[in-house]
């Protein structure tokens, strides 16, 4: 069997729920999150909070969230959107794809535990500590399509609020976004599975045979 077919076959065998479509609608309860498996494609509807490097470091160092932001059973999105104010002074998101999540690996597990986050959206996957936190607290990692800023911005129906704009700048601020049918793939689930770990191991073995 050629190597690539074996990978596709391997993933299909390993993750039988592969490419099943799952609407994931707020409230994001532990039960809904625990029901998800690696390979599930979800369409997310509800509120998400953006947070990237500056926010993670701030929370890790004991920084407090503004009182009107509650991440319990919430979704954290690794994203620095392009935003413009329209003629009525309302914020509009014009580009909103995910940023690379691995930079938040030093902070993510703690933030999932401390704040009760149910899902983290990003790209590129995260490491073992985050995977362990997903299992312990009932959280999943949702991989959005990196670079697909327009498709994903179309899913943002409203900007509810923005915080830390002054301190962190627009890309690093916390944007509270209402999204509808936002597409993402579960690549790390709450049962200890990680597509990233598996693809890395597979590609490492394939490369070793070709050196």
């Amino acid at each position: 069997m050629p190597p690539l077919e074996s990978l596709v076959g391997f993933i299909e065998f390993r993750f039988p729920a592969f490419l099943a479509m799952h609407p994931l609608v707020a409230p994001f309860t532990a039960a809904k999150i625990r029901a998800l498996n690696v390979g599930d494609e979800v369409f997310l509807t509800g509120t998400v909070f953006t947070g990237r490097d500056a926010v993670h470091k701030y929370l890790h160092e004991g920084g407090k969230l503004p009182p009107d932001i509650n991440l319990r059973d919430g979704i954290l999105y690794h994203c620095g959107p392009v935003t413009l104010k329209d003629e009525h002074g309302h914020w509009k998101v014009t580009a909103a794809g995910p940023t690379t999540s691995s930079r938040e690996e030093p902070y993510q597990a703690q933030i999932i535990g401390d704040f009760g986050v149910r899902a983290v959206i990003g790209k590129g996957g995260m490491g073992e500590r985050t995977l362990a936190a997903c299992k312990e607290y009932g959280c999943v990692y949702l991989h959005a399509i990196g670079g697909a800023a327009q498709v994903l911005a179309e899913c943002v129906k409203r900007v509810r609020s923005v915080h830390f704009m002054e301190e962190f700048g627009a890309p690093e601020a916390i944007w509270e976004l209402e999204v509808e049918a936002f597409p993402a793939v579960v690549t790390m689930d709450s049962h200890g599975n990680s597509l990233h770990r598996d693809v890395l191991a597979h590609s490492q073995a394939e490369l070793a045979r070709r050196l």
């Binding site: 490419l19 500056a54 670079g147 800023a149």
Partner: protein, 292 residues
């Protein structure tokens, strides 16, 4: 508004919102080659839809509008200082219009003043030539793919890479493996063998100015390019690192001289959102034609 300012804003707008044809063709081939019903195929479909949407709405393909890097080829008597001033004005205006994200941060204070201006932003490389033509090329390089770039110093004991072509092959493929999906694949590699730590990366990035479908005139480098492309696509990393058939869309390699003590291999990674455009200016600094 001066004609040059207008031309540069249009160059930035189009670079940010439209994928050049050569890259788009490679992406379409990649979508067709992925196995139907996989998340790799689904990812490529979303990418295809995104490209179409960005072009139609004239908005950034990716929210990370990246490092803004200009390459200017100009006649010997060209006023580079004025050009650079107008370029900065164009970047500021393009940011105000939302073609570029407020993407430039003071590294010490962490402040983002929202203008995209500062030391190194934008970067403008000038090259004089003896022709009367002025050409301006622009690359917008996102941070996700910039972060997975790598520079290797050979020999590299752990990777069994010696100072020869096989050693170069080993470290370049290691860069692909380490990147996995984090650079927003399927991507393109720009590689420089040799140079110093600064010029190595500079030359590796200049490879992104080549047409994706071109062939290296040096037969040795051409063979290495084809080999890396084929091998990388056999690793099964796939779009976004989801597993799949297309890990890279292209590989471009150049060689620069080195000092005897150093042997660097510098690998730059460009994401699928390969934003690169160019214009030739007429005598009045209007856009005479598009280069890609």
């Amino acid at each position: 508004m001066s004609a040059l300012l207008e031309s540069l804003i249009e160059l930035i707008r189009r670079s940010s919102a439209e994928i050049p044809d050569d890259v788009n063709e490679a992406l379409v081939r990649s979508l067709e080659s992925e196995k139907k019903g996989t998340i790799a195929e689904s990812a490529m479909r979303i990418i295809e839809r995104n490209i179409e949407l960005a072009k139609r709405k004239s908005q950034p393909i990716c929210q990370d509008t990246g490092s803004v890097i200009f390459y200017v080829t100009c006649p010997v008597d060209y006023d580079q200082l004025t050009f650079e001033e107008i370029t900065r004005e164009a970047v500021k205006e393009a940011t105000r219009k939302g073609f570029l994200r407020q993407n430039s941060v003071d590294s010490i204070t962490g402040k983002n003043d929202g203008t995209n201006l500062g030391l190194g932003s934008p970067t403008v490389h000038f090259h004089q030539h003896r022709s009367g033509e002025t050409e301006v090329r622009l690359v917008l390089k996102g941070g996700g793919c910039e972060n997975v770039g790598a520079q290797y110093s050979l020999p590299h004991e752990k990777l069994h890479a010696n100072r020869d072509l096989d050693g170069c092959r080993r470290v370049i493929l290691d860069a692909v493996l380490q990147a996995q999906g984090r650079g927003c694949g399927p991507g393109v590699l720009g590689v420089c063998i040799g140079g110093d730590r600064a010029t190595g990366f500079e030359f590796s990035k200049q490879q992104f100015l080549r047409m994706l479908g071109d062939r290296n005139p040096d037969p040795t480098l051409d063979a290495l390019e084809q080999d890396i492309l084929k091998t990388a696509n056999e690793l099964g990393i796939g779009p976004m690192g989801f597993g799949g058939r297309t890990t890279l869309l292209g590989v471009k390699i150049c060689a620069a001289n080195r000092v005897p003590a150093s042997y660097f291999v510098s690998v730059s990674y460009m994401c699928w959102a390969f934003r690169r455009q160019g214009i030739q200016l007429d005598a009045a600094s209007r856009i005479a034609r598009w280069l890609y």
